[in-house]
């Protein structure tokens, strides 16, 4: 009888130990480029966020932050949430999140500079704290980084277990004249991410958003 009791306790402990939430959850941090040339694209970002809200499950984490002159700051986080385990509560959180993003998109003002690297660093910090199992950083930008004078962003990224996906990477006027500029810009970001141990991806066709979580 004692043995049986001990066995039951061991099984309970094992069961409790196996109850794992963090390692299977998904964390998504989306960076929105609000620089002057790109701010007009934010309506598309809203659609992407709606897609993410539809796909993410209870227990997942979602944060949206803007890319402005100095993006390495919590103040740039527009909205963040870790969805409750109960689906009904998670649904209400998603509705509230959607409202916050909608409000931001209608009131956003363009920034003079584009600090993408600062945003990525902030995303890494946030997702590391969230301890999500799968980590995604979505960059909604043309990937043209313009730093204000005095800002230093020559820090190598630490991106193991991260998927960094650039969305809607629009071609600039100069890119049309010389496509090498566009290709070089994309390649530069790819190398930065892959050197940091992360996986790089790019989705320009917003009809194929399901490819975000394909890997």
């Amino acid at each position: 009888m004692k043995k049986l009791f001990a066995l039951a306790i061991v099984v309970c402990i094992l069961m409790a130990g196996c109850t794992d939430i963090k390692s299977r959850s998904t964390g998504v941090y989306m960076l929105l480029d609000t620089s002057g040339t790109y701010a007009v694209e934010l309506n598309k970002a809203q659609k992407i966020l709606n897609y993410l809200l539809g796909v993410l499950a209870p227990g997942d984490t979602l944060a949206v932050a803007r890319i402005d002159t100095g993006s390495f700051s919590e103040k740039d986080i527009i909205s963040k949430v870790t969805f409750d385990e109960r689906p009904s509560v998670a649904n209400n959180q998603k509705r509230a999140f959607m409202q916050q993003v909608e409000s931001f998109v209608t009131t956003v003002q363009g920034s003079p500079y584009t600090d993408i690297s600062g945003g990525i660093l902030q995303a890494i910090e946030y997702l590391n704290e969230a301890e999500s199992g799968k980590k995604y950083i979505l960059i909604f930008s043309d990937l043209k980084e313009e730093l204000a004078k005095g800002y230093k962003r020559d820090i190598p990224f630490q991106l193991p277990e991260y998927h960094v996906i650039a969305l809607n990477v629009t071609k600039l006027r100069g890119d049309n004249i010389d496509p090498k500029e566009y290709l070089a810009r994309v390649e530069d970001w790819r190398s930065k991410v892959e050197n940091g141990g992360g996986e790089w991806g790019m989705i320009n066709d917003l009809e194929r958003l399901d490819n975000i979580f394909a890997n």
Binding site: C18, Y51, L53, A57, P58, E85, R86, M98
Partner: protein, 497 residues
């Protein structure tokens, strides 16, 4: 030595080749006997080893078949016992039902018979006879009166009184007869009642007779099984196969029901235990849903055991009736509670699904659908959630059939596999043996010039010396018949043992 060097042992390459061939043939000829012995020994080793293995496998197959038969007979005996027991239970119930009321019927019959007897006695009462007044009247009527009015009046009065008395007597007589007829009329229902009672008793006795015939049949079957006849074994085996197939089919249907049941409660369970936690590779909510279904199945199993419909747990069947009844009530109550919980979960599922759909529409920017949500799917899901646990409770019956018949089917399958394995071993043994013979023959074919010369030389010698036939060399022909019957294989095995 290279090939080129080999061709240069003489000035002519062709001659060199011829010399080499002759040397090679000579070498092969001298190595022929040991080569034959090696190949034949090896092929015999293969054949004997494989046939010994085949004999072992066949022996195991025989033991398994014997065991299968024992198990089959035991199962058949148990089944026949159950049948007989059930028939005796029915007879006991019929006897209790019909003959328990027999004293009452007997009392009723006695009462009715007494009544009939009384009525008969009453009806046998002789009606009041008519007074013997006719001669008196006639005598009085014959009296001659002399015209005296007083006498005439007196006579008339006497005549009138007598006539009236006569009429009254006749009327009394008629009334009495009518009363007797009435009594006889009243007797008819009693007769019918007696008839009905007797018919009922006859029906009960016929019923018991029929049951007795069924018991006789079951007992005959039981005796056949006990005798271990082949016919009984075949019948039981066929029955087990049929049961296995039917039970398997019903279990598949039940699994389908369980999957539907699972889908009904998995989503709402995430509202209760959380939708993001995992136990191993499975969601906790899924595991919780599965546990509920398994608990329902277990309750159903215990309920069927308590009702003595199945016999998977002999300890439950062996409980006294009071305890069993308690168990029936407990398991049925738990099952009903779980069915209620499932019904509530199905309702919750509908609500969550509706909420999710609304959210999806909002996220997609679509307008809300104009039609209000129908109540029919909700009610349907709730009803399904309530019914399925009770339906799943009956899985115990095919499960028992499947478990009992699977032993026979698996045993038969294993025996068949062993037979096939033994056949394969014997086949390989024979192939190995005849392959050895084939290699020997190919070898002889390769050195046929040498053998041909040997033949010529031997023939010449035999002419000169006239050797006896028994002394002739035998190694030129190799005859080895394969003993390939089952009995010989067994003999080989016995020798080995």
């Amino acid at each position: 030595m290279t090939f080129a060097n080999m061709l240069n042992i003489t000035s002519s390459p062709a001659l060199s080749i011829l010399i080499w061939i002759v040397l090679f043939l000579l070498a092969l000829y001298f190595a022929r006997r040991p080569f034959h012995q090696v190949i034949m020994s090896f092929s015999k080793i293969i054949r004997n080893a494989l046939r010994l293995s085949a004999a072992s496998v066949l022996s195991a197959e025989k033991r398994l078949a014997l065991r299968n038969r024992e198990v089959l007979m035991a199962a058949g005996l148990e089944n026949a016992e159950r049948k007989v027991e059930r028939e005796f239970d029915r007879i006991a119930a019929a006897v209790t039902r019909d003959l328990e009321g027999y004293p009452n019927v007997h009392r009723q019959l006695s009462e009715v018979i007494v009544k009939l007897d009384e009525d008969y006695t009453s009806s046998a009462d002789v009606p009041p006879s008519l007074p013997n007044w006719m001669p008196i009247i006639e005598s009085i009527a014959k009296i001659e009166h002399s015209g005296d009015s007083m006498v005439a009046n007196m006579l008339a009065e006497i005549n009138r009184s007598l006539t009236e008395q006569n009429k009254k007597a006749i009327e009394d007589y008629r009334n009495s007869t009518a009363a007797r007829h009435g009594i006889l009329n009243k007797m008819m229902p009693f007769w019918r009642k007696v008839q009905r009672s007797l018919d009922s008793i006859t029906g009960s006795i016929d019923n018991i007779k029929n049951r007795a015939k069924t018991v006789d049949r079951s007992m005959n079957e039981y005796e056949k099984i006990r005798a271990g006849s082949d016919a009984a074994a075949r019948a039981l085996s066929t029955s087990a196969l049929t049961q296995f197939a039917i039970a398997g089919l019903v279990l598949l249907i039940a699994i389908g029901g369980a999957i539907i049941n699972f889908n009904l409660i998995a989503l709402p369970m995430s509202e209760m235990v959380g939708g993001a936690s995992y136990i191993g590779p499975f969601k906790t909510s899924d595991v919780a849903g599965l546990v509920i279904i398994l608990v329902e199945l277990t309750m159903g199993l215990f309920l069927m055991e308590s009702l003595r419909i199945t016999r998977l747990f002999p300890i439950i069947g062996a409980m006294d009736d009071k305890m069993r009844h308690r168990m029936i009530i407990i398991t049925f109550t738990l099952l009903a509670i779980l069915a209620g919980v499932e019904s509530a979960l199905a309702f919750m599922r509908d609500r969550i699904a509706h909420d999710m759909e609304m959210l999806r529409q909002t996220l997609a920017g679509a307008e809300q659908m104009g039609l209000p949500p129908s109540i029919i799917p909700t009610v349907g899901q709730m009803v399904l959630g309530f019914i399925l646990p009770f339906a799943l409770a009956f899985v115990a019956i095919p499960l028992e059939m499947f478990v009992t018949s699977s032993r026979t089917v698996l045993g038969a399958g294993a025996a068949w596999l062993l037979r096939m394995f033994a056949f394969l071993l014997r086949l390989l043994g024979n192939i190995g043996f005849y392959l050895g013979r084939f290699i020997v023959n190919v070898y002889d074919l390769a050195i046929f010039p040498a053998i041909w010369l040997e033949g010529i030389i031997m023939a010449t010698k035999s002419k000169k010396v006239d050797l006896p036939e028994s002394a002739a060399p035998e190694d030129s022909h190799l005859v080895e018949e394969a003993a390939d019957s089952y009995d010989e294989t067994i003999q080989i095995k016995e020798q080995q043992e």
